[in-house]
Protein backbone atom coordinates (compact mmCIF):
# COMPACT_ATOMS: atom_id res chain seq x y z
CA UNK A 1 0.00 0.00 0.00
CA UNK A 2 2.89 2.34 0.52
CA UNK A 3 4.14 1.93 -3.03
CA UNK A 4 1.22 4.00 -4.34
CA UNK A 5 2.95 7.18 -3.16
CA UNK A 6 6.12 6.18 -5.00
CA UNK A 7 4.09 5.65 -8.18
CA UNK A 8 2.55 9.12 -7.72
CA UNK A 9 6.03 10.68 -7.55
CA UNK A 10 7.18 8.75 -10.63
CA UNK A 11 4.13 9.72 -12.71
CA UNK A 12 4.44 13.39 -11.73
CA UNK A 13 8.11 13.52 -12.69
CA UNK A 14 7.43 11.70 -15.98
CA UNK A 15 4.78 14.27 -16.89
CA UNK A 16 7.11 17.14 -16.03
CA UNK A 17 9.92 15.58 -18.09
CA UNK A 18 7.61 15.36 -21.10
CA UNK A 19 6.56 18.99 -20.83
CA UNK A 20 10.15 20.25 -20.60
CA UNK A 21 11.89 18.00 -23.14
CA UNK A 22 9.55 17.35 -26.04
CA UNK A 23 9.04 19.77 -28.89
CA UNK A 24 5.79 18.40 -30.27
CA UNK A 25 2.74 20.29 -29.01
CA UNK A 26 0.50 17.26 -28.73
CA UNK A 27 3.07 15.35 -26.68
CA UNK A 28 3.17 18.29 -24.26
CA UNK A 29 -0.60 18.07 -23.84
CA UNK A 30 -0.32 14.32 -23.16
CA UNK A 31 2.26 15.14 -20.47
CA UNK A 32 -0.12 17.59 -18.78
CA UNK A 33 -2.78 14.87 -18.82
CA UNK A 34 -0.42 12.41 -17.11
CA UNK A 35 0.25 14.96 -14.35
CA UNK A 36 -3.50 15.38 -13.82
CA UNK A 37 -3.98 11.62 -13.47
CA UNK A 38 -1.20 11.38 -10.88
CA UNK A 39 -2.83 14.01 -8.67
CA UNK A 40 -6.20 12.24 -8.82
CA UNK A 41 -4.47 9.01 -7.75
CA UNK A 42 -2.88 10.83 -4.80
CA UNK A 43 -6.26 12.13 -3.63
CA UNK A 44 -7.91 8.71 -3.77
CA UNK A 45 -4.94 7.02 -2.03
CA UNK A 46 -5.13 9.49 0.88
CA UNK A 47 -8.71 8.50 1.62
CA UNK A 48 -8.19 4.78 2.05
CA UNK A 49 -8.48 3.03 5.43
CA UNK A 50 -7.52 -0.64 5.73
CA UNK A 51 -10.57 -2.98 5.75
CA UNK A 52 -12.95 -0.12 5.03
CA UNK A 53 -15.95 -0.09 2.72
CA UNK A 54 -17.24 2.38 0.14
CA UNK A 55 -19.02 5.50 1.49
CA UNK A 56 -22.57 4.37 0.73
CA UNK A 57 -24.52 3.66 3.91
CA UNK A 58 -27.35 1.21 3.36
CA UNK A 59 -26.48 -1.06 6.29
CA UNK A 60 -24.49 -0.51 9.43
CA UNK A 61 -20.77 -0.81 8.69
CA UNK A 62 -17.93 -0.50 11.14
CA UNK A 63 -15.15 1.17 9.12
CA UNK A 64 -16.02 3.53 6.25
CA UNK A 65 -13.42 5.23 4.06
CA UNK A 66 -13.03 8.98 4.02
CA UNK A 67 -15.54 10.63 1.65
CA UNK A 68 -14.04 14.14 1.44
CA UNK A 69 -11.01 13.57 -0.87
CA UNK A 70 -13.25 11.59 -3.25
CA UNK A 71 -15.45 14.64 -3.77
CA UNK A 72 -12.36 16.74 -4.55
CA UNK A 73 -11.10 14.09 -7.00
CA UNK A 74 -14.43 14.12 -8.87
CA UNK A 75 -14.14 17.88 -9.37
CA UNK A 76 -10.51 17.59 -10.48
CA UNK A 77 -11.28 15.02 -13.18
CA UNK A 78 -13.93 17.14 -14.88
CA UNK A 79 -11.87 20.33 -14.75
CA UNK A 80 -8.85 18.53 -16.25
CA UNK A 81 -10.95 17.33 -19.19
CA UNK A 82 -12.24 20.80 -20.06
CA UNK A 83 -8.74 22.32 -19.82
CA UNK A 84 -7.48 19.64 -22.24
CA UNK A 85 -10.25 20.52 -24.71
CA UNK A 86 -9.31 24.21 -24.63
CA UNK A 87 -5.63 23.41 -25.21
CA UNK A 88 -6.46 21.20 -28.19
CA UNK A 89 -8.43 23.96 -29.89
CA UNK A 90 -5.49 26.35 -29.45
CA UNK A 91 -3.21 23.71 -31.01
CA UNK A 92 -5.41 23.50 -34.12
CA UNK A 93 -5.39 27.26 -34.51
CA UNK A 94 -1.60 27.50 -34.05
CA UNK A 95 -1.09 24.82 -36.68
CA UNK A 96 -3.20 26.69 -39.20
CA UNK A 97 -1.33 29.93 -38.61
CA UNK A 98 2.27 28.67 -38.50
CA UNK A 99 1.96 25.41 -40.49
CA UNK A 100 4.02 23.46 -38.00
CA UNK A 101 3.60 21.67 -34.66
CA UNK A 102 7.19 22.17 -33.53
CA UNK A 103 7.45 24.52 -30.60
CA UNK A 104 11.04 25.62 -31.33
CA UNK A 105 9.98 26.81 -34.79
CA UNK A 106 7.06 28.77 -33.38
CA UNK A 107 9.31 30.54 -30.90
CA UNK A 108 11.72 31.56 -33.63
CA UNK A 109 9.13 33.18 -35.89
CA UNK A 110 8.44 36.10 -33.61
CA UNK A 111 7.43 39.58 -34.67
Amino acid sequence: MQFIYLVVIILFCLGLYTILMNTNLIKIIIGINIMDSSLVLLLVALSYKPAGTAPIIDKQYSVIVDPIPQALALTAIVIGASITALMLLLTIKLNRYYNTLDISEIRRLRG
Partner: protein, 235 residues
Protein backbone atom coordinates in the same frame (compact mmCIF):
# COMPACT_ATOMS: atom_id res chain seq x y z
CA UNK B 1 23.42 21.02 -22.21
CA UNK B 2 19.76 21.78 -21.78
CA UNK B 3 19.10 18.09 -21.25
CA UNK B 4 21.48 17.91 -18.26
CA UNK B 5 19.84 20.92 -16.61
CA UNK B 6 16.39 19.39 -16.99
CA UNK B 7 17.47 16.00 -15.63
CA UNK B 8 19.11 17.65 -12.62
CA UNK B 9 15.98 19.70 -11.93
CA UNK B 10 13.76 16.62 -12.07
CA UNK B 11 16.07 14.67 -9.74
CA UNK B 12 16.00 17.51 -7.20
CA UNK B 13 12.19 17.67 -7.42
CA UNK B 14 11.84 13.90 -7.02
CA UNK B 15 14.04 13.88 -3.89
CA UNK B 16 12.10 16.81 -2.39
CA UNK B 17 8.83 14.96 -2.95
CA UNK B 18 10.31 11.81 -1.46
CA UNK B 19 11.22 13.64 1.73
CA UNK B 20 7.74 15.14 1.86
CA UNK B 21 6.05 11.76 1.69
CA UNK B 22 8.61 10.06 3.92
CA UNK B 23 6.46 9.22 6.89
CA UNK B 24 3.57 8.11 4.71
CA UNK B 25 5.78 5.57 2.92
CA UNK B 26 6.95 3.92 6.16
CA UNK B 27 5.00 0.76 6.90
CA UNK B 28 3.42 1.22 10.30
CA UNK B 29 0.16 0.79 12.13
CA UNK B 30 -2.71 2.97 11.01
CA UNK B 31 -3.37 5.71 13.57
CA UNK B 32 -6.36 7.86 12.79
CA UNK B 33 -6.43 10.96 14.94
CA UNK B 34 -6.89 13.90 12.59
CA UNK B 35 -10.04 13.18 10.61
CA UNK B 36 -12.63 14.98 12.72
CA UNK B 37 -14.68 16.51 9.93
CA UNK B 38 -14.97 13.12 8.21
CA UNK B 39 -16.21 11.57 11.47
CA UNK B 40 -18.90 14.24 11.68
CA UNK B 41 -19.99 13.71 8.06
CA UNK B 42 -20.12 9.93 8.45
CA UNK B 43 -22.17 10.09 11.65
CA UNK B 44 -24.63 12.87 10.87
CA UNK B 45 -24.70 12.80 7.08
CA UNK B 46 -27.72 10.59 6.52
CA UNK B 47 -29.81 12.34 9.19
CA UNK B 48 -29.19 15.88 8.03
CA UNK B 49 -29.38 15.46 4.27
CA UNK B 50 -31.42 12.32 3.69
CA UNK B 51 -29.03 10.95 1.04
CA UNK B 52 -27.34 7.58 1.37
CA UNK B 53 -24.43 8.32 -0.95
CA UNK B 54 -22.07 10.39 1.19
CA UNK B 55 -19.96 11.75 -1.68
CA UNK B 56 -23.07 13.18 -3.40
CA UNK B 57 -24.27 14.58 -0.07
CA UNK B 58 -20.97 16.40 0.39
CA UNK B 59 -20.84 17.66 -3.21
CA UNK B 60 -24.43 18.91 -3.41
CA UNK B 61 -25.42 19.82 0.11
CA UNK B 62 -22.53 20.57 2.44
CA UNK B 63 -20.20 22.04 -0.21
CA UNK B 64 -22.68 22.96 -2.93
CA UNK B 65 -20.99 26.31 -3.50
CA UNK B 66 -17.84 24.57 -4.78
CA UNK B 67 -19.97 22.66 -7.29
CA UNK B 68 -21.32 25.98 -8.51
CA UNK B 69 -17.72 27.14 -8.97
CA UNK B 70 -16.90 24.06 -11.03
CA UNK B 71 -19.97 24.58 -13.22
CA UNK B 72 -18.65 28.11 -13.79
CA UNK B 73 -15.28 26.72 -14.91
CA UNK B 74 -16.98 24.50 -17.50
CA UNK B 75 -19.06 27.46 -18.65
CA UNK B 76 -15.91 29.59 -19.09
CA UNK B 77 -14.21 26.83 -21.11
CA UNK B 78 -17.24 26.49 -23.43
CA UNK B 79 -17.44 30.26 -23.90
CA UNK B 80 -13.72 30.57 -24.69
CA UNK B 81 -13.91 27.76 -27.24
CA UNK B 82 -16.98 29.29 -28.87
CA UNK B 83 -15.21 32.65 -29.06
CA UNK B 84 -12.02 31.32 -30.65
CA UNK B 85 -13.58 28.92 -33.14
CA UNK B 86 -14.10 29.90 -36.71
CA UNK B 87 -17.39 31.20 -37.97
CA UNK B 88 -17.15 30.22 -41.60
CA UNK B 89 -18.67 27.05 -42.96
CA UNK B 90 -16.17 24.30 -43.60
CA UNK B 91 -16.93 21.57 -46.10
CA UNK B 92 -16.61 18.23 -44.33
CA UNK B 93 -16.79 15.01 -46.26
CA UNK B 94 -19.07 12.15 -45.28
CA UNK B 95 -17.93 8.63 -44.66
CA UNK B 96 -19.86 5.54 -45.63
CA UNK B 97 -20.16 2.86 -43.01
CA UNK B 98 -21.58 -0.61 -43.50
CA UNK B 99 -25.25 -1.19 -42.55
CA UNK B 100 -24.24 -3.04 -39.38
CA UNK B 101 -22.89 0.18 -37.89
CA UNK B 102 -26.04 2.14 -38.73
CA UNK B 103 -28.42 -0.48 -37.33
CA UNK B 104 -26.31 -1.09 -34.24
CA UNK B 105 -26.04 2.59 -33.31
CA UNK B 106 -29.77 3.15 -33.88
CA UNK B 107 -30.47 0.27 -31.53
CA UNK B 108 -28.15 1.40 -28.74
CA UNK B 109 -28.98 5.14 -28.53
CA UNK B 110 -32.26 4.88 -26.47
CA UNK B 111 -30.56 2.61 -23.93
CA UNK B 112 -27.74 5.11 -23.55
CA UNK B 113 -30.30 7.81 -22.75
CA UNK B 114 -31.91 5.57 -20.12
CA UNK B 115 -28.47 4.91 -18.59
CA UNK B 116 -27.75 8.65 -18.44
CA UNK B 117 -31.02 9.50 -16.72
CA UNK B 118 -30.63 6.59 -14.29
CA UNK B 119 -27.20 7.89 -13.27
CA UNK B 120 -28.62 11.39 -12.77
CA UNK B 121 -31.78 10.55 -10.87
CA UNK B 122 -30.38 7.79 -8.64
CA UNK B 123 -27.32 9.88 -7.76
CA UNK B 124 -28.14 10.01 -4.08
CA UNK B 125 -28.71 6.26 -3.71
CA UNK B 126 -25.89 4.60 -5.67
CA UNK B 127 -22.62 5.68 -7.31
CA UNK B 128 -23.07 8.17 -10.11
CA UNK B 129 -24.19 11.74 -9.77
CA UNK B 130 -24.81 14.66 -12.04
CA UNK B 131 -21.42 14.82 -13.75
CA UNK B 132 -21.27 11.24 -14.92
CA UNK B 133 -24.80 11.34 -16.35
CA UNK B 134 -24.07 14.59 -18.16
CA UNK B 135 -20.97 13.16 -19.84
CA UNK B 136 -22.97 10.12 -21.02
CA UNK B 137 -25.50 12.50 -22.65
CA UNK B 138 -22.62 14.23 -24.45
CA UNK B 139 -21.33 10.83 -25.62
CA UNK B 140 -24.76 10.19 -27.19
CA UNK B 141 -24.46 13.41 -29.21
CA UNK B 142 -20.95 12.54 -30.34
CA UNK B 143 -22.00 9.05 -31.50
CA UNK B 144 -24.94 10.41 -33.49
CA UNK B 145 -22.85 13.04 -35.20
CA UNK B 146 -20.03 10.69 -36.06
CA UNK B 147 -22.02 7.88 -37.66
CA UNK B 148 -24.84 9.67 -39.42
CA UNK B 149 -22.66 12.36 -40.94
CA UNK B 150 -21.64 15.81 -39.89
CA UNK B 151 -24.59 17.29 -41.78
CA UNK B 152 -27.19 15.32 -39.81
CA UNK B 153 -28.68 18.23 -37.91
CA UNK B 154 -29.15 21.73 -39.20
CA UNK B 155 -26.22 23.69 -37.95
CA UNK B 156 -27.20 27.05 -36.62
CA UNK B 157 -30.55 26.17 -35.10
CA UNK B 158 -29.33 23.12 -33.19
CA UNK B 159 -26.34 25.02 -31.84
CA UNK B 160 -28.56 27.80 -30.53
CA UNK B 161 -30.89 25.27 -28.95
CA UNK B 162 -28.00 23.62 -27.15
CA UNK B 163 -26.70 26.94 -25.87
CA UNK B 164 -30.18 27.67 -24.56
CA UNK B 165 -30.29 24.33 -22.73
CA UNK B 166 -26.92 24.99 -21.16
CA UNK B 167 -27.99 28.43 -19.94
CA UNK B 168 -31.18 26.95 -18.50
CA UNK B 169 -29.06 24.46 -16.54
CA UNK B 170 -26.86 27.16 -15.03
CA UNK B 171 -29.74 29.51 -14.22
CA UNK B 172 -31.75 26.72 -12.60
CA UNK B 173 -28.89 25.99 -10.22
CA UNK B 174 -28.68 29.62 -9.12
CA UNK B 175 -32.46 30.01 -8.79
CA UNK B 176 -32.66 26.99 -6.46
CA UNK B 177 -30.00 28.66 -4.33
CA UNK B 178 -31.85 31.97 -4.21
CA UNK B 179 -34.96 30.07 -3.12
CA UNK B 180 -33.01 29.19 0.01
CA UNK B 181 -32.33 32.87 0.71
CA UNK B 182 -35.99 33.81 0.21
CA UNK B 183 -37.08 31.22 2.79
CA UNK B 184 -34.75 32.77 5.37
CA UNK B 185 -31.80 30.34 5.48
CA UNK B 186 -28.38 30.21 3.75
CA UNK B 187 -27.76 30.16 0.01
CA UNK B 188 -28.40 26.64 -1.38
CA UNK B 189 -29.93 25.34 1.86
CA UNK B 190 -31.59 21.95 1.91
CA UNK B 191 -33.92 21.57 4.86
CA UNK B 192 -34.13 25.19 5.89
CA UNK B 193 -35.60 26.12 2.51
CA UNK B 194 -38.65 24.00 3.03
CA UNK B 195 -37.72 20.94 0.94
CA UNK B 196 -39.13 17.72 2.27
CA UNK B 197 -36.38 15.29 3.25
CA UNK B 198 -38.35 12.04 3.20
CA UNK B 199 -37.24 8.57 4.22
CA UNK B 200 -33.60 7.78 3.49
CA UNK B 201 -33.26 5.08 0.85
CA UNK B 202 -36.20 5.88 -1.39
CA UNK B 203 -36.16 7.62 -4.72
CA UNK B 204 -38.12 10.75 -3.72
CA UNK B 205 -35.95 11.79 -0.82
CA UNK B 206 -32.99 14.03 0.02
CA UNK B 207 -34.72 17.32 -0.65
CA UNK B 208 -32.93 19.49 -3.15
CA UNK B 209 -30.23 17.03 -4.26
CA UNK B 210 -32.04 15.36 -7.23
CA UNK B 211 -33.03 18.78 -8.62
CA UNK B 212 -29.43 20.02 -8.44
CA UNK B 213 -28.23 16.76 -10.02
CA UNK B 214 -30.60 17.28 -12.96
CA UNK B 215 -29.50 20.86 -13.60
CA UNK B 216 -25.80 19.98 -13.35
CA UNK B 217 -26.13 16.98 -15.66
CA UNK B 218 -27.96 18.97 -18.32
CA UNK B 219 -25.37 21.75 -18.14
CA UNK B 220 -22.31 19.51 -18.37
CA UNK B 221 -23.80 17.40 -21.17
CA UNK B 222 -24.76 20.26 -23.44
CA UNK B 223 -21.50 22.08 -22.73
CA UNK B 224 -19.37 19.13 -23.85
CA UNK B 225 -21.59 18.63 -26.92
CA UNK B 226 -20.98 22.28 -27.91
CA UNK B 227 -17.22 21.80 -27.48
CA UNK B 228 -17.28 18.76 -29.78
CA UNK B 229 -19.34 20.60 -32.38
CA UNK B 230 -16.87 23.52 -32.46
CA UNK B 231 -13.81 21.25 -32.62
CA UNK B 232 -15.13 19.26 -35.57
CA UNK B 233 -15.97 22.36 -37.58
CA UNK B 234 -12.42 23.73 -37.44
CA UNK B 235 -10.27 23.74 -40.53
Amino acid sequence: MRRIYILALILILASLLFFTFYDLIQPKEFIDDKAQISEYYIEHGVKETGAINLVTAILFDYRAFDTLGEATVIFIAVSAISLLATKERVLVSDTNFSPIVYQGISFIIPFLYILAFYLIFYGHLSPGGGFTGGVVIATTFVLLKMTFGIRYSKEEKSLQRRSLIESIGALGFILVGILGIIMGDNFLANEGAGFHLGIAGQLLSAGVIPILNLFTGVKVGSGLAIIFHRLVREE
